[in-house]
């Protein structure tokens, strides 16, 4: 952990990270778009999740929801990650020691793994229950886990500004 500190200090001292950190409009613009893209991404992911747990679009085949939402989900996910990485690079020393930031990364990875397992494993055999309002229990669990993990990720992110445990 300690060996990364000089790298972070170097990053923070670069001309462009300093300029962005001190900029009156550039930083708020990136910060605001970061949140906006997350809102779009999480909202679209949760619509899929709500179908999986049987609370929304119960009579729309899962494949159709997936096909319609995926592009939009990724279209919001990529810029939300891009702006997020940028915000981190501008102030790495502040974030790496923030418990909420570390928690956020952890939940983000878990949410990603949950989605991967669902798409690569559970949904592979999806044809049999694709149109069923009640999906198989592993798929229900994937939807429930996704709802919870993304919610907790967002909550942890929102708490990052509070350096209570510094």
């Amino acid at each position: 952990m300690l060996s990364i500190v000089p790298t972070f200090a170097w990053l923070e001292g670069l001309a462009w990270t300093t300029a962005l950190r001190e900029s009156p409009y550039g930083y708020p613009l990136i910060e605001t778009s970061h949140v906006a893209f997350i809102v779009i991404f999480a909202g679209l992911v949760m619509m899929m999740d709500l179908r999986l747990v049987g609370l929304a679009f119960r009579h729309v085949p899962l494949a159709q929801i997936q096909q319609r939402l995926f592009r939009w989900q990724m279209g919001a996910f990529v810029p939300s990650m891009g702006t997020g990485i940028l915000l981190f690079l501008v102030d790495p020393l502040r974030y790496y020691q923030n418990v909420f930031f570390i928690a956020k990364l952890l939940f983000l990875v878990l949410a990603g793994l949950n989605a991967l397992v669902f798409h690569l494993k559970t949904y592979r055999k999806g044809e049999t229950w694709d149109e069923d309002p009640h999906v198989i229990v592993t798929a229900w669990r994937a939807g429930a886990a996704s709802l919870l993990l993304w919610s907790v990720t967002i909550v942890a992110s929102r708490l990052i500004p509070n350096n209570w445990f510094k």
Binding site: R21, E22, S23, P24, Y25, Y27, P28, E31, V53, G54, L55, V90, D91, W140, A144, L147, L148, S151, V152, I154, V155, R158, L159, P161, N162, N163, W164
Partner: protein
């Protein structure tokens, strides 16, 4: 249906837990509005940075001991709007800051008003501070 009710409660509970954090971070989460302070001292360093700026200041305690302060300010866009410039600061200059004491850290404060040596005064408070008249209307 029962498991869905539990799920909805869990997600709602998770999202509501963030309620105490308002604005960027709540003034009340870190600073004590009942402990106003006025600091006269020497500015050792300034971070003109987002999402908050910081003024590092040394003050002299009654016994002559030097105390180090870390004073939170608003973001560069807000400081600029209130007429302050990064170039107004030089390390080692003397200044006065009116603000509020931090809760956890005795050397932490939230700045509301900055008074420079010539008497020029600036509002440096962040959004969500107490309604104490420091902010120009």
């Amino acid at each position: 249906m029962k498991r869905n009710i539990i799920l909805v409660l869990l997600v709602a509970g998770a999202l509501c837990s963030v309620q105490p954090a308002q604005a960027h971070h709540a003034f009340a989460a870190q600073y004590d509005p009942t402990k106003p302070l006025t600091l006269n001292g020497v500015v050792t360093r300034v971070e003109w940075s987002n999402p908050h700026g910081w003024i590092y200041m040394d003050t002299k305690e009654p016994g002559g001991k030097v105390k180090h302060w870390m004073i939170e300010t608003a973001a560069p866009s807000q400081l600029t709007r209130h007429g302050l410039k990064k170039a107004d600061f030089t390390d080692g200059m003397s200044a006065t800051v009116k603000g509020y004491q931090g809760k956890a850290d005795p050397g932490l404060a939230n700045g509301r008003t900055l008074i420079l040596k010539g008497g020029r005064s600036f509002y440096i408070g962040s959004v969500g501070g107490p309604n104490d008249g420091a902010e120009p209307q």
